[in-house]
Amino acid sequence: MNTIFTFLHFRIKQFSRSIREIGIPLFLILLLVTTGLTFKILVFLSEVQGIEMGIFSLVIIASIHLARKDTHFLKSLTVSRPLLFLAEYSLLLLPVSILLLFLGKIEPAIYWQLGMLPVLLFPAGNFKNNKIAPLVNLDKIPFKYFEIKLGLRRMFFGIVSLYVLALGCSFFIGTLILFSIFLLLILPAFFQEFEPKEMIVLEYEKGNFLRNKICSHLLIFQIALLPHYLLFLFYHFEMWYLGLACFVVLSLGIIFNIVYKYASYRPSVSKIFSNTFQTVFLATLFMPGLVLASIGMIIYFWRKANKNLVYYYA
């Protein structure tokens, strides 16, 4: 039992360190944005049934459980792992349960807290399998688009099937919007890993590194999406502004992910430490009235990325 308490204490410490890493002023901004989101969640929670909350909780915890990377470390502990997972996940779900109880929703609160129990029957961290041989030869894609190669190799079948499905269903008005949202959600997976110094130097020495990278990636992403835009205009020309909105929002998403990557860049570190700002950025895109904040974030991280690159490579 002591080990479990020590472990939970360690997790709380990790959380407080993350807040310190973000910085108090930015954490307060984050809090403001999440307050808006919390309000939306509250409205949603006031309408849901218990069983739905259980399924919701199960899906969230399963996605965390199956992608855990600390399984080797946990095996070295003598404590019962299901018990440890139970304690950890219960703590994670507790704030929403308290919120539900506060709203007088006792049944959904119980379902929410207990819905994750089936997850404990499965071994943790089994979702990712890196031992897959290259499925697609992407030699035709130039080296400078290594992020695109990485993203495609990671999610090739998912991306290609959804791409084709979205093309096939383009006569539905919401298809382009849903496909754009899907792309916005997966974009961080393309840009969350840092390349070794040599890979940056090769492009940096040519000058205008950040601008060139953004322009070339915007071009390649938007060219790939051109059939979707054209089909959207073919079927729903009167709603052209929706297509334009998707184009703008996706462009903002691509720009943000690139500038955020290099603003967070540190040599000898393999990937972005925290995805908090990517989540905040997405929230600002989806919440009416906050789109300007997303542009503000792009400008802020662009400057930071430039300073960062100058520090290491100028």
């Binding site: 080296f143 190799r153 000898s268």
Partner: protein, 228 residues
């Protein structure tokens, strides 16, 4: 000539390198020895530009050292994910059109068309080593190049480094395997608590080995007395 002048580096209040002065001549293999935390990796990271110094500089051929001067092999080799060994080498060798990947790979027989993630620790070291050669930089910095490498490959690496000397490169090595270092190095700098304690020439290596062994024995005797 690579000259390190009055280099001082700290992490917060922790002063890791204190007024380090070193000279590395071309056509020689230079060793940097020191216990864990002595400042070897910090020294390399600073020369390579990963860490900014508080004071001092690294000068190559009487100018500030540049990104394109150094081929650096880190202790723990990091590779971009979902990249094959072939893609990695092709990328690093982009400015070296004459580099024959397949010929070099005959030395280590790596599965170049597999993802690097699937390689063992030793295989990753060997790939990183070929990568450093592919870059064809005038300065090679190798931090623990022999870690995790099998006996045969270790010997190949040693032979290869001896041959690379003739290309007039500056080769700097840090390793804990003292036998390998004393065998190939021409000069060894002993780093202790962030300062260069002594520099040993080839003829003085037996003295260095004896000094190291004696000091370690002294520490062991001191700590283990009454324990084991």
């Amino acid at each position: 000539m690579l000259e390190i002048k009055n280099l001082a580096v700290s992490y917060g209040k922790n002063e890791v390198l204190k007024n380090v002065n070193l000279t590395f001549a071309p056509g020689m293999i230079h060793g940097v020895l020191g216990i864990n935390g002595a400042g070897k990796s910090t020294l390399f990271n600073t020369i390579y530009g990963f860490k900014k110094p508080n004071a001092g500089s690294a000068q190559f051929q009487n100018r500030t050292i540049q990104n394109g001067d150094i081929g650096f092999m880190e202790t723990s080799c990091y590779f971009y994910p979902m990249m094959t060994g072939f893609e990695y080498l092709k990328l690093l060798g982009i400015q070296n059109q004459d580099f024959d990947f397949n010929k070099w790979n005959e030395l280590f027989e790596l599965p170049l068309h597999e993802y690097v993630e699937n390689y063992s620790t030793g295989m990753k070291k060997k790939l990183a080593f070929i990568g450093v050669i592919a870059m064809d930089r005038p300065i090679l910095i190798l931090d623990e190049p022999f870690n995790g490498v099998d006996i045969e490959s270790n010997e190949k690496l040693l032979q290869l480094l001896i041959r690379l000397k003739s290309t007039n490169k500056i080769i700097i090595i840090a390793s804990h395997i003292i036998e390998s270092v004393t065998r190939i190095c021409d000069r060894i700098n002993l780093l202790e608590n962030g300062i260069i304690k002594t520099t040993f020439e080839k003829t003085e290596f037996p003295i260095l080995e004896k000094e190291l062994k004696d000091s370690i024995k002294l520490k062991i005797d001191d700590v283990l007395e009454g324990l084991v």
